[in-house]
Symmetry: C2
DNA sequence: ATTCCTAGTGTTATAACATATCATATATTC
DNA sequence: GAATATATGATATGTTATAACACTAGGAAT
């Protein structure tokens, strides 16, 4: 996933179905290393491995799917093993949780603080991560009008990505 | 819950902590009766009771909490009893599911088609249901720009409602 | 009226997701 | 190196949701 400097609205775009995902994973891990070093966090092998598994998935992945893969290298991993790593990664914004799927996805830009806005393809499970100011503002405006003090936003949009739409209509 | 004709943006506003909730429940059940009759749906006693339990709760309520209350009158109710009723109610838009809470809440206007946008108070668990065009447009605009075909939106905002904010700051 | 079908519910079991608790190991700090 | 804090191991349990099959009541078709 490549950052697009200057465009503060798209944290992570949809990737072509054929892109080099190995590179995405490598980049994300490198970014996480830097991020953790900068904040003095202990990015242990276990946490690193869980992050790698999350990124390796083609889309949001469930905790128990992570667990299953994790057991390839850590035979006695148990649910808490995974959930503790996920908690760490979420706390430090290296991953996000997709509430509507009970699943986790790598964050496209851990260094920037942002709420989660996601477009999720029902077909290929690709995810685009946004930090769309217009959406945020629209929410804030309505909340303000009602005297509501916003603490956390969840915006998850399910649908079909451009590639899948094309493939479907070409059939 | 009173409908505000002319304002198409707020499906169901926050209610005062002291409002007559019995009346909300009664109104909602009456609306559901009409809605089901109009569409030729069988609004059975079980489904009616589950809807009543959802509405009776002060905020979003979990399936197993519904189950527990349901057992007061239906001793051998089991999870499928509840989930089947919830499925029916959701399919016909009489309730919504709050993804971020794994909980269910009565719909403030079942006759109008709308996506779910919710403000949820962390303190008193009150929920305001919106159909804010500005939010919807902001999402659509960004989705269109990415060639994404939106099928379903989840917008759930956690925070503090006006009354709770006031109570908190007053001490 | 008998047969057939369907929608709704009952019943049991299990899948899927998440946390509590206590023990052990491994780093940091002094 | 002892004390402390952090991380992980291990076991059990809690919470949310669905699968699978049986039974019933009521309407349509013959
Ligand atoms: Zn990729
Ligand atoms: Zn797709
Ligand atoms: Zn509604
Ligand atoms: Zn409140």
């Amino acid at each position: 996933m490549k950052k697009v400097k200057g465009d503060t609205q798209i944290i992570a775009p949809f990737q072509s179905h054929k892109h080099d995902h190995e590179q995405c994973v490598a980049d994300a891990l490198a970014a996480a290393e830097i991020c953790c070093k900068k904040e003095g966090l202990s990015f242990t092998p276990l946490r690193r491995l869980v992050l790698e598994l999350v990124w390796s998935s083609h889309g949001p992945i469930g905790a128990y799917d992570i667990l299953e893969k994790l057991r390839d290298s850590r035979r006695n991993a148990a649910p808490p093993t995974v959930y503790r790593a996920l908690d760490f990664l979420m706390e430090h914004r290296l991953i996000h949780r997709i509430e509507s799927l009970n699943a986790y996805v790598g964050c496209g830009d851990p260094e920037r603080h942002h709420g989660g806005q996601f477009l999720i393809c029902r077909d290929c499970h690709a995810v685009a991560e946004l930090d769309d100011k217009a959406i945020g503002r629209a929410v804030s405006r309505r909340a303000d009008a009602l005297g509501f003090d916003v603490q956390q936003q969840t915006v998850e949009v399910i649908g079909l990505c451009a590639e899948c739409t094309a493939e479907t209509s070409n059939g």
